[in-house]
Amino acid sequence: MTNDSSGDVRLSGISKTYGAFTAVHPLDLTVPQGSFFALLGASGCGKTTTLRMIAGLEEPSSGTVFLGDQEVTNLPPYKRPVNTVFQSYALFPHLDIFENVAFGLRRRGIKSVKKQVEDMLELVQLGEQARKKPHQLSGGQQQRVAVARALINHPKVLLLDEPLGALDLKLRRQMQLELKRIQTEVGITFIHVTHDQEEAMTMADTVAVMNAGRVEQLGSPADLYENPNTTFVANFLGTSNLIEAAVDSKSGDDIVLQAGGGKLVLPQARCSAPTATGGKVLVGIRPEKISLTHADDAGEIPEGRNRITGKIADSSFIGVSTQYVIDSAVCPEFEVYSQNIDRDARLTPGADVVLHWSPAHTFGLDAAQDIDAGVETVEPEEGVAA
């Protein structure tokens, strides 16, 4: 990674409308040189449109695109120093792998391409396949050809449009690491569009979560996961338990909240919502942060922890952990993931339990939002332009 900003991607006020439909609302975004940046969102959230505006394949309705110091808003794609790895790869079916990879070099009038192409094919471990046609390769190999074909041009930015969407789960994991390795090796800025939150978190330094044509939140994967600012981010990245609560009082840096007769403590710094006394906020807690104790042992729970009582509705053992669904007064389906270290045999469906967690793990959200925003439903068929 280098510190000069000549490879920064800067979008300012960029938007895209199709007739009455706004695909991307005016958006400001800076992607620093050399970073691995992910645009994450469900299909139709505007992430692919944003990517295509950087590539020049889509003309923005307003705003400007800068690559370093150069404004490229009105440049056609073939004059921009960016390259794209397309969804389903778009390899040229009539050319062999070698010619596919050499395509960009040849179009720029570079005569001796052999060495470069062979080196690039080595980098993606496809040296043996140079004379095959794309349809003779497996999905993972085609994916690597698409990456090689783009990277060989040493673009300022590499754009990846759901590059792993067509691969099966195991291969996808493998390619995630592979792409990350290549990015570290070549040091080029990668902008990666995906609907898979795990993929975004595994690979990217910075993730921008998009929803309905807007960036909901931007930050490092850990930051987004631990401190979501909206219900969409809280639900879309992993799972969150959200409880409606009323602000009771404030004590020092903490807010004391009233929920279902009990009191919960939330650090002021971890609340993105206004907190006037009597106002409502959504209290969030991740399932793995919660400890589960049988009601008979409630006295052993240390002081100062947030606690909620409930009854186990369901439990499923999945090896490394057991996932419980708890029925409680404040939230009908409270999810708790418990590491299988010392399993308490009494924790079976029907058992009365106390859920407790450290207040520092609690986060607060504006209650004026849809509490179920971003909850994963059945994923629609991918490939529809997102």
Partner: protein, 266 residues
Amino acid sequence: MAFVRWLKRHLVVIAGLLTLGYLLLPNVIVTVFSFNKPKGRFNYEWQQFSTDAWRDPCGVADMCGSLSISLQIAVWATIGATVLGTMIAFALVRYRFRARGAVNSLIFLPMAMPEVVMAASLLTLFLNMGAQLGFWTILIAHIMFCLSFVVTAVKARVMSMDPRLEQAAQDLYAGPAQTFLRVTLPIAAPGIAAGALLAFALSFDDFIITNFNAGSTVTFPMFVWGSAQRGTPVQINVIGTAMFLVAVLFVLAGMVIGNRRNKQKA
């Protein structure tokens, strides 16, 4: 029983071979009779083997002249119809314009219209415009009726093309002209070639439309038709057989090249 089982297993192959025989029998007759030495003017009964006609294929007055005219018209009609038809096909698939739906259905009309009707209306048109009937009127007519076929063949191919391939080309520094030459055209080529072959075959053996609009020009099909009334020279069979052989050679060459490519890949 064994025979019945054998028959059951090979029924599809047998049916296929019989159909192939049905298709090829006329060609076999044409070829056999190109080696005939007929007694009278008509070449309809087998007399004795001879290679006279093969040694002197242009021995019949005017026949090779008409063949040359037919070939010229077929070549130009193929070029004209392929270029125009390819452009129409791209326009219909790639662009959204107001009359697109209408054009899409109208393009099929010449294929559906009885040829005689079209021939007569073309003649009316040419006469009213005061056009001199001959080579050019035939060519214009041929390009017209070949167009629908070319459009249909190319359109099918262009429709199955992923527009992302052209976007990928642009993304890889190919300007519009380069994108068309390096990506669009090579991928559409099989469709265009199919359309061109169809146009050539249709133009070369067209009789009805040509006969109406030819004036005093005589094409090869017209020559065959004319001579059939007065007597059929063996050379007609020679030309027919030669055309058939050329076509077969083309197909074989295509297969050999295709096989070799596949082997290289593997």
